[in-house]
Amino acid sequence: MAEAARHQGGILLEGLVKRFGPVAAIDGVSLAVQPGEFLALLGPSGSGKTSILMTIAGFEFPDAGRVVIGGEEVTWTPPNRRNLGMVFQRYTLFPHMTVLENIAFPLKMRGVARAAREEQARAALRTVRLESYGDRRPAQLSGGQQQRVAIARAIVYRPRVLLMDEPLSALDKNLREEMQIEIKQLQREIGITVVFVTHDQTEALTMADRVAVLDHGRLQQLGAPRALYEAPETPFVARFIGETNFFQGRAGGAASDGALFPVQLDNGAQIHALAVGAIAAGARLTLALRPERLRLAPAGAPGLAAEVREAIYVGNATTLLLRGADGATLRARIPAGAGFSEPAPGEHVTLQWEAGDARAFAAAA
């Protein structure tokens, strides 16, 4: 794709608000998608991720805010004039048309001559590796094939942006993983901007260049998968992406963002943690600690005393369920094959970690 055309695919959302009665489905979301970027909108149901996608597509109109695509404001442009590709959750192929007619449909709507649109539709069908299926009806294809046809239909007119609304949620697990890789490769190949809605964190982390995590209509964090996992900025992100142990505590002193500072845990332990945002002295805190960042030391060593309740072998690691001195359940993960000792249930151990791995969030009042 030409450089100038690539430039067109940027999306800018500014102060987006959408209310349904008293509920704000989108509550002041601003974000920018770079041309050619793969952005995932990730959140639980009701987080506003689909509403944001529908607002970009033009099926919903915001109560406040702007939608800019390729430098052009389209907030109030009807969906058929936005020139975007869209793949729906259910495949939504036109059942009365053949596969090839389905794919040629957007070209027909754009006035492309018959011969040219057949040629382009066949090319799109090749892109999704279904070249011999053009004359079939959608009902004769499997779910995965139908979704590939839907993708071909969405990219056949080379739109600047491809919107995908949980496109893989109807497929079984193996096919879903295969399609994740396939869609990612396709996106790199044709250099299209993709906005992809999902509630599956693994899917978001696997496919996206950046992930926007949403909750209750608010943007919680926007960042690369690694940043979201390693440096969550809110307790919600820490809980939603991957597994996390949470502790409650109180700040032993004031700290600025990113600083290590002393913390008094409610279970009595004195530790150091990394401040996420500025924290006032004596503030209530929520601390997040990833299971794989915990190290096991013999009982009596400095750290957090715990008792192993269960050891669950999952192939590439062993997950330990432990009980802390205060009765709280904790998780620790020991990677397989690295020669670490694996304690048996009932054994007493001490948990240790690097101070920087405990992330402290000021608790909401």
Binding site: P79, N80, N83, F88, F94, F105, G134, D135, R137, Q140
Partner: protein, 277 residues
């Protein structure tokens, strides 16, 4: 579902159902042999076989005029009711109408209001507008009468139709109008076609309103039949009734067959493909 508790009870139930069916159908069926009788008066059982009254019908200009008038009124009101009713059904399902409840009530109106009351009202209004005894008047009256059936039939088709396909059409660049003609209409076509046939049959059968708004020489077939039974109870009436019954059954069967055929085609699988346009 429960299995039938005892065969005797089941047989009794079947017998009752058949008895009711026969009771309902018998008068209609009796008219058929009567129409083939040779006598000058309606008689059952007929004491011979003759096509005389059918010939009589085709020779009688008044019968033929009434028939053609009925056909014209039926076709126009079928087209009118299908157009208006389909648009109305679309508006009710897709639109965000402020007076939705009121519109629904108006649509159901002709079904609820007694036909005679409606006929009197139409007569009074049409008389003022000089529409009685005109084709336009009949077309309008029958359109109103057929409208609820069209709206309900098309509504049912629209509820079965996946509205997400319209969004898909929009995302493909088809505006609402082109989306309707390329995606919605082909998929609800069985419903629309059977609605049109239904509307035609309603108009063609309609007697009460026709009784009021017919003119001296512009009258429908049912109205002509009423007159005939008043003045000269000839077996031509039975011949006409027989043909009317067969035509109505034929139209409804055609509608049913079309609907089945199109549903089967839409549902799945006829994949010969070939023409891409």
């Amino acid at each position: 579902m429960r299995a039938a508790p005892n065969p005797a009870g089941r047989m009794a139930l079947n017998a009752a159902a058949y008895a009711v069916t026969v009771f309902l159908l018998l008068p209609t069926l009796i008219i058929i042999p009567m129409s083939f009788g040779p006598e000058r008066f309606l008689q059952f059982p007929p004491n011979g076989f003759s096509m005389r009254w059918y010939l009589e019908y085709f020779r009688d200009e008044e019968w033929l005029r009434a028939t053609f008038f009925s056909l014209e009124a039926g076709l126009i009101s079928a087209v009118g009711a299908t157009l208006v009713g389909t648009l109305l059904a679309l508006a009710l399902v897709r639109g965000r109408l402020p007076g939705r409840g009121l519109i629904e009530l108006l649509v159901v109106g002709p079904v609820i209001v007694p036909h005679v009351a409606l006929a009197v009202a139409m007569f009074l209004v049409f008389e003022q507008l000089r529409l009685t005894g005109t084709l336009l008047g009949f077309a309008m009256a029958h359109t109103v009468l057929a409208l609820p059936f069209v709206v309900f039939t098309v509504l049912a088709a629209l509820y079965r139709f996946d509205a997400e396909l319209e969004r898909a059409a929009l995302s493909c660049g088809a505006g609402p109008v082109r989306g309707f003609f390329h995606v919605t209409l082909p998929l609800i076509a069985p419903g629309v076609v059977s609605a049109a046939l239904f509307a035609f049959v309603i108009s063609f059968d309609e007697a009460v309103v026709s009784f009021f708004i017919s003119g001296l020489d512009r009258k429908t077939l049912p109205r002509k039949m009423f007159e005939d039974i008043d003045y000269n109870i000839s077996p031509t009436l039975a011949a006409v009734a027989t043909m009317l019954t067969l035509l109505t059954i034929g139209a409804l069967l055609l509608g049913y067959a079309l609907k089945r055929a199109m549903e089967r085609r839409a549902a799945a699988a006829a994949g010969e493909g070939g023409d891409h346009g």
